[in-house]
Amino acid sequence: MLQYARPLQRVIEELQRLPGIGPKSAQRLAFYILRSGPEAARALGEAIGSLPNGIGRCQVCHNYTEGELCPICDDPARDRTTICVVAEVSDLMALERSGEYRGSYHVLAGVLSPLEGIGPGDLNIDSLLDRVSQDGIREVILATSPSVEGDATAEHIRQLLQQYPGVVVTRIALGLPVGADLDYQDQVTIARALSGRREMQ
């Protein structure tokens, strides 16, 4: 089998580790970087290399941040009495892009999945309960995806929040691709909506 020059082979191998990148995409990207010249390649390498140094987790909501608090927790205009609980920072970004939500967030950093060895102790659940017990929270929106794991995680948190009777718990479902061919998904969604099985309380 044909072998690439060692540096090129290494870039291809590293790119292939990324989600959604197969051998062919990795090759294409590697050749593109090679062709785009040393300046561009160095800039890309530096940007990637300095990523872990400059970035940490927000002490309140576990969003990515350069400082102690993320821009959302640091913004005095945001409503701190409402917390929207999401699995990943990418979900937070999706909700932010909608521009509809003015409350705060809490990033769990995953969902429950015993098969992958992820239990309640592996998620940012204790810090959520701390926030709810201290801050005079009025509403917690559970916005994990409507998969079995996302639903089980929401259910687990709902059960824990029952000890705070003053807090309203609501559930919204993320995860439907917008603008894709929703023919069948629509049928399922409508069927589920009709049966009212998404209601939490």
Binding site: P114, V148, D151, A152, Y184, V188, A191, S195
Partner: protein
Amino acid sequence: MHITKLALENFRIYPELQMEFSQGLTIIVGPNASGKTSLLEAIHLLATTKSPRTHIDRQLVRSGAPHSRLQGQFVSTQNQATNISITLPGEHAGEAEQITTAKQVKMDGAAIDSVSQMIGRVPVVMFSTEDLNIVKGSPGYRRRFLNVATAQLRPRYLDDLQRYRRALSQRNQVLKSIRHADAPRSGLGPWDTQLIEAGAALAADRQEFTQTLSEAAELVHGDLSDGAERLVLCYRGDLADSDDDEARKGRFAELLAQNEDRDVEYGYTTVGVHRDDFSIIINGTALRRYGSQGQQRTAALSLKLAQADVVTAWRGEPPLLLLDDCLSELDVCRGSRILELVQHLQGLIITSPVLNEVLAARSDADFFRVEDGRIEQTTPGAAEMQ
């Protein structure tokens, strides 16, 4: 629903094949192992993305070929055409450059990434000799039949089934970690909730489908047995005695709680709809244990013909019916009665090792002869002489 065109490339024993069908009855005659079942299998695969004979797609690709391609055009009673194409990778796919390694399905030119997007679009019911297992095999065969049949009828069913299986695996994993003493029992709760919701939905659909199928099968089987046999189906399972959604959920929750100690001890879930079954009763006796081989065979056929009736009633579109070698062991009288029962279908394909008098009498049918992967259109007279 009927099929108008079928094109195969490197599928089973066929290097290349093109066939055109007209509306109504098609009869395919050929000796055993000549490739006639593979034709029905290909049509079933196009309509449902799944082979009724194997779940390993590679086995479908002609030996040594890098991939297999199938194309079919189906037309509904409303005259709406659906074009489906499927590419299956073979044993050596991936080694050569530029060859895809995953199954690709396209419907009317658009890629389908989830089987569920296609469900019910091309309703098809197939009967083959292996369906005898539905009658005399283990409960797993009957659950598979229930799942495949109901999934074609209810868009939500497959989703519920996948959720149930996923929740069950997760719950079993929690049971194992409780057993090895490093997890609290409270970890079961969220999975129980998911299991109960999906399980209650599945039980409701299975109950309703079994009931409807039972009514249709009683009529069909009564006809096939000259009114001598009354066939009844009875859904059996942990939630089979509950009448509504609340009762099913309540019962399932109760069973999970009652069996929790045992589940922890075994490390898996011992109650639930994954143990469901249905019994087939003829004149008051269980067919599985006491029926003769001929009786069991006729009952299996009755179930499939009844399934076609249920599909017509629930989806408003009669299915394409594929009958693989179902007439050869029946007498002339019964054979022609079966053809009468399915007379109303727009698409019906029957295979047979020989052209018996029941089939030869159908001057309205299209006849094909298959031998060693070669197929030619023929007439009943010519087929008979060979």
